[in-house]
């Protein structure tokens, strides 16, 4: 059963009932879900979790909605892979890759949307919605299809069709907005205020965000009930990054793992790095930016949880790291060539960030590291289109052997 006590403002601590609310009426601070951790500690156990469903719902005791098998899209419980090739290349003894690119709609967004949709149904909504340029749209449309809800997906009208095909296939109502990025933001906020829908990252955002806590729980369970020395994750709004840490800390608080000493490292791309730039300049004030990055899934210029991501970095003794734009595709290729995992630009940023953290000595060879790969490369193939360069030959063995000899001589 759910152990939710209330919603609470992260800034002024005012309490609110468990409803579709995301902002404090008084200070406009963001709301978060408050759990009864003592009750969770009594209810949960390693054995109970291990015998639960092979999805994020194995952690239902820690989530704001009840487990409903009928609408479970099987988000989560993705592989945690012990790295060989990449670890060797980077000079690490214990590197693990959390491969969240194999979720049902191919990104970690399935986690947050699965939890948001389950809670939305409990609260009486029949429609979920989002504004997205990619992964979130896919997750909302897919989860809606599975759960029998209606869905509305808002996209900027200049978005390439291919980018949202992965959402359109699930047959949501897709609305292309003819306006700037800021116009899309504003219109969607107005629509969320006006329509009786669960707008996943607006009015049900507190529940939505908590889906990412499972990225912390899973890693701890899959490591044999322990936290790693370091976690490296890409950041856009900063919500996922903060929730990974919250997940680890909740496992500690409920006695499932011992002391959490994990240093949290946030990776962003140079073209959109409001969190990492603030970290580098030693300030806790986020300066919003106009995003211009190849890592399109990280392009949030005004990150809602940027400040809280900086606080997690400070509390954990971690850091923030920037991948240059010309390093993103190299990061994608490095992961593919060494581990057989094809990720999108955000994964390229995470791998490049990890590389820099090792080079600068922030992560040492004998420390355990988990790097989060949050989205699939097949959605953004243009990023690495230059890898397609086959050897062209005539249809005979001699031509093949000559071509191979020429290749070997290079």
């Amino acid at each position: 059963m759910s152990h939710v006590l209330s919603l609470r403002c992260k800034e002024c601590s005012r309490e609110y009932p468990v409803e579709a609310l995301n902002v404090c009426d008084f200070c406009f601070g963001p709301l978060e879900v408050v759990y009864d951790l003592q009750a969770i500690a009594k209810s949960t156990s390693r054995e109970k979790i291990a015998s639960g469903p092979n999805s994020l719902w194995r952690y239902a005791d820690f989530l704001p909605a009840e487990y409903n098998p009928a609408i479970d899209i099987n988000a989560g419980f993705t592989p945690l892979i012990r790295s060989r090739g990449l670890a060797e290349r980077l000079g690490l003894d214990e590197l693990w890759i959390k491969n969240d690119s194999v979720n049902p709609s191919y990104s970690f967004k399935d986690r947050v949307v699965a939890v948001a949709a389950a809670k939305a149904l409990e609260l009486g909504f029949d429609t979920i919605a989002c504004a997205s340029t990619g992964n979130l749209a896919c997750a909302v449309a897919a989860v809606a299809a599975r759960s029998g809800m209606k869905s509305y997906v808002f996209i900027p009208s200049n978005l390439e069709a291919g980018k949202i095909l992965g959402a359109a296939i699930y047959n949501p109502t897709m609305v292309a907005i003819d306006g700037s990025y800021d116009d899309v933001n504003r219109l969607c906020s107005e629509i969320a205020d006006s329509y009786p829908w669960a707008f996943v990252n607006i009015n049900v955002r507190p529940f939505y965000a908590d889906g990412s806590k499972t990225l912390g729980y899973e890693v701890a369970e899959q490591l044999g009930w322990r936290a790693p020395d370091h976690a490296v994750a890409p950041s856009a709004s900063g919500a996922m990054f903060t929730k990974i840490y919250q997940g680890l800390k909740e496992f500690e608080a409920t006695g499932l793992i011992s002391h959490v000493h994990t240093k949290m490292h946030s990776a962003q791309a140079r073209g959109c790095s409001p969190i990492a730039s603030a970290y580098e300049e030693g300030r806790f004030v986020i300066r919003p930016v106009k995003p211009s990055s190849l890592a399109t899934s990280l392009a949030i210029g005004n990150p809602a949880d940027g400040y809280y991501a900086l606080k997690v970095i400070e509390a954990s003794g971690g850091s923030a790291v920037i991948a240059e734009e010309n390093e993103i595709a190299d990061g994608v290729k490095l992961l593919a060539e060494t581990e057989g995992i094809f990720t999108e630009g955000a994964g390229g940023v995470a791998i490049t960030g990890l590389k820099h953290l090792v080079e600068t000595g922030k992560i040492k060879r004998d420390e355990s590291v988990v790097v989060y790969i949050t989205g699939n490369g097949l959605k953004t193939t243009e990023l690495v289109a230059d890898v397609v360069n086959p050897v062209l030959i005539e249809p005979n063995v001699e031509a093949f052997e000559a071509a191979m000899a020429a290749r070997a001589a290079k």
């Binding site: 008084f26 504004a131 997205s132 992964n135 933001n185 955002r205 709004s237 986020i286 300066r287 210029g301």
Partner: protein, 80 residues
């Protein structure tokens, strides 16, 4: 009367400017500061604006024109 919630981000050279005062005086928009943090070199204000929609739009356009960044108070809602 329409209400809008925005985050204004000020850079160094503008922190001494009475931007919010002028929004009220010149555009007849009621302003209410809910939270703020002004540090050396940068500051932000979470501001509630109430007035005719056109007045709010004009006021925010002017705020942008003097170099203050205007964003939704809750952060960007368009995600990747």
């Amino acid at each position: 009367m329409p209400i809008e919630k925005v985050r204004l981000t000020f850079l160094d050279r503008l922190i001494k400017e009475p931007v919010i005062y002028r929004v009220g005086r010149d555009f007849k928009v009621e302003t209410n500061i809910r939270r703020a943090d002004i540090q050396e070199g940068i500051g932000w204000v979470i501001l509630e604006l109430e007035g005719e929609q056109k007045s709010i739009d004009d006021a925010l356009e002017w705020v942008r024109s003097v170099g203050v960044r205007v964003d939704p108070a809750v952060g960007d809602v368009v995600e990747g």
